[in-house]
């Protein structure tokens, strides 16, 4: 009995010794003490919000995928100055109140250092409005109302709001600039627009620009559609009754698909009077994939023109090729502007933190103003006065291209220098004044 006890003890000690020897060979890299990390945090937390359900659910999902892609790349190379990035996303459900609630949770409870995202202009404005209280930076990556940069940042001096995606100047003025030169004979325009801020601002800017370039332009019908419109046939019917030559539309994502499908079914593109149909954000993957059969069969007869906040065919830069290839391999589709906006935002945060070497929000804001950084869209510049990224994106027509087998892409690109279609400080007259002057609302 005593012998057995001693034997057991010896065996036990031998096992413990063996484990210690094995463990001693395992290289242990102790985490650097926090004080050695320039940012004084092991993990930088970035919270994202988007739409994750309904006809525009692809926008939130793409934001998440774009952010994750950038974060994986950055973390694989050691993070930002040794600090890894952690990302958490939430569904704002297209509701400003939910967006604010989520923002408070992400910052107050989860501990986000930055917030990004937002697909709805209404939610972006609401969340942007509480950032001075939360004292964290919000980077808009999709929602496009110009009031975000012009009113919130420039006029109300809300320094916490930034945006990496182009605003509504991209959806409206650039079309007027191109079509006034290319199709000056198209003078009767009608519109089917979103019955909320995005739609009001777009149409107002488009009308204003067209009137400046073609003084005898006529706007013969204006129709509106709120969120969750499933049936645009009354709007299409009303617009076609006015016999337009051009139709400007702003419903986006799944609603844009429905509108275009119903317009096809109602013979809009067969009408010889109709020369141009604009989907101002038709570069999105859900629109292009949703319309891929019709595009392949040329059902739009070259009348459909689109743009977005990023067109994947707009350049051959290595960063863009890498972005498109990596995303396509992972998700079996091509990225679009929601993806690129988030991807750019993460890399903006990286570059800014590498410059500021602190998470102090005042210092980061200062470093972000005027920052230039490389993105798949090309170089973007954060305009200091309104924290808006400035960069050109072309308009074009969707086609099938054998170089891009997964879905249609935008080709026949037409460019306009940003100086000619972006609005610049002091942003006079204001967007609200233009909307009031131009719209029958």
């Amino acid at each position: 009995m005593r012998k057995r006890k001693i034997t057991g003890l010896v065996i036990g000690l031998a096992v413990v010794l063996l484990i210690m020897i094995i463990v001693s060979f395992v290289p242990v890299t102790a985490a650097p003490p926090l004080k050695q990390l320039p940012l004084k945090k092991e993990v930088i937390k970035i919270g994202g919000q988007g739409i994750f359900s309904g006809p525009n659910a692809i926008c939130g999902r793409s934001m998440m995928e774009g952010a994750r892609l950038a974060i994986e790349e950055i973390n694989a190379k050691g993070g930002i100055l040794g600090s890894k990035i952690e990302f958490k996303y939430m569904d704002c459900e297209l509701k400003p109140a939910v967006g604010i609630k989520n923002a408070r949770y992400l910052v107050g409870e989860w501990g986000a250092d930055f917030l990004i995202g937002h697909d709805s202009s209404g939610v972006l404005m609401a969340v942007g409005g509480v950032m001075p209280e939360l004292k964290k930076i919000l980077i808009g990556t999709h929602a496009a109302t110009a009031n975000y940069n012009e009113r919130l940042v420039y006029r109300e001096k809300n320094k916490y709001c930034f945006r990496t995606a182009s605003p509504t100047y991209q959806d409206a003025t650039i079309f007027a600039k191109v079509f006034a030169k290319k199709f000056p004979e198209v003078k009767r325009w009608a519109s089917i627009n979103c019955d909320y801020e995005f739609g009001y601002v777009n149409l107002a800017l488009f009308k204003r620009a067209m009137k400046e370039l073609i003084p005898d332009v006529e706007f013969v019908a204006e129709t509106w559609a709120p969120f969750w419109t499933m049936d645009f046939t009354p709007q299409i019917s009303a617009v076609m009754a006015a016999k337009p030559q051009g139709i400007y539309t702003s419903p986006w994502g799944g609603e844009g698909v429905q509108l275009a499908r119903q317009a096809l079914i109602m013979g809009v593109f067969e009408d010889p009077n109709v020369k141009l149909y604009i989907n101002c954000t038709g570069e999105t993957s859900d629109f292009l994939m949703g319309m891929s059969n019709e595009i392949a069969k040329d059902k739009f007869h070259g009348k459909l023109w689109v743009t977005g906040r990023y067109v994947l065919t707009q350049n051959d830069l290595p960063i863009n090729k890498h972005f498109v290839k990596t995303y396509a391999e992972k998700y079996a589709m091509y990225p679009f502007h929601c993806t690129e906006g988030a991807y750019s935002a993460i890399y903006l945060i990286k570059k800014v933190l590498e410059k500021s070497r602190t998470l102090d929000v005042e210092a980061v804001i200062k470093a972000m103003e005027g920052m230039k950084w490389d993105t798949p869209s090309g170089e973007k510049w954060i305009r200091p006065e309104d924290h808006q990224a400035v960069y050109p994106v072309p308009i074009g027509r969707p086609v099938m291209d054998p170089d891009y087998p997964l879905m249609p892409v935008v080709k026949d690109l037409h460019w306009v220098p940003v100086k000619e279609y972006y609005r610049w400080p002091p942003f006079e007259p204001s967007i609200d004044e233009i909307v009031k002057a131009e719209l029958k609302r």
């Binding site: 359900s53 204006e222 969750w228 009354p234 009754a241 499908r261 013979g267």
Partner: protein, 287 residues
């Protein structure tokens, strides 16, 4: 005049989808006494199942519709047997809370099953194209929708008015106890009525997807309009539901044409006026 006729037909097409959802809602309330907020998700499932059978599995369009009605009917049966039957006699607040919970549950189930991105169904070949009405192209599919909506109205009227089952339904709606005393199996009848209501909503959803898209949340969007229709027409009254759908669809279409600024809330103004003047609805009865 041409514009009025064409816009009216466009509104009529939209009205038929509303009618199909409202008819089911009306039957569920009129017979079973259930105010089913989740009725819109049955419409949504109709769209999803048609997408699955017709677009994904490549089955015949008509067979896909039949399978869709059966599938959603079964979902309705499970809902009725498992969750609604125990609360028939409960206050309406309990019904609202339970059926509202179904909206969120079913929306998330749909996201899990089909993903969050909206689905598109190709227009069947035999419905492609349009006919000329007042010189303008009017989709053949819209003609089919109008015809189906009217046909369903006639079918439901014949079913409820001329068949034993329909008479039992109407008797039970009027006086459950007396109907039960006369030997009618109320439980089986209610289950059948709810399944029928679910199938009608599913038909609306299935027929909508070649024209629209289907995605999470569309049930919530249509149920709001369906409730407006039933309030205008009279809760529990099928004739009222049909007329209410016509009013909402056609007036909405004309508002889009002539006063687009009011298009979003005109139907709510109409509902408010009806509630003020005749709270039981145009064809409803005071209970």
């Amino acid at each position: 005049m041409d514009t009025i006729v064409y816009q009216g037909l466009t509104g009529l097409t939209a009205a038929m989808f509303l009618w199909l959802v409202s008819a089911g809602l009306t039957i569920a309330f009129g017979v079973c006494g259930i105010l089913n907020i989740a009725h819109g998700v049955l419409y949504m499932f109709g769209g999803y199942f048609l997408f699955t059978f017709y677009q994904l599995l490549g089955l015949n369009f008509w067979l896909s519709i039949l399978l869709t009605l059966i599938s959603v009917g079964l979902i309705g049966l499970v809902m009725e047997l498992g969750f609604l039957r125990p609360i028939y006699k409960e206050p309406i607040g309990i019904q609202l809370v339970l059926t509202f919970a179904f909206v969120w549950i079913f929306d998330d189930l749909a996201k899990l099953a089909w993903g969050p991105v909206s689905k598109i169904v190709a227009m069947p070949r035999f419905f492609e194209g349009f006919i000329r009405i007042v010189g303008r192209p009017f989709p053949i599919y819209s003609v089919f929708i109008i015809g189906t909506g009217i046909a369903m109205a006639v079918f439901i009227w014949l079913l409820l008015d001329k068949t034993w089952w329909g008479k039992s339904i109407r008797a039970s709606a009027l006086d459950r106890e007396m109907a039960s005393a006369l030997g009618i199996n109320i439980r089986t009848l209610f289950s059948g009525a709810f399944v029928f209501a679910a199938a009608i909503a599913a038909l609306g959803g299935a027929l909508s997807v070649p024209l629209r898209v289907v995605g999470p949340g569309i049930g919530g969007a249509i149920i709001v309009q369906a409730f407006v229709v039933t309030v205008i027409g009279g809760l529990g009254n099928l004739k009222g539901a049909f007329v209410g759908a016509l009013i909402v669809g056609v007036v909405g279409a004309f508002c889009t044409l002539y006063i687009p600024v009011f298009e979003m809330f005109i139907i709510y103004i109409i509902m408010a006026v009806v509630l003020l003047i005749r709270p039981q609805g145009i064809f409803g009865e005071i209970r």
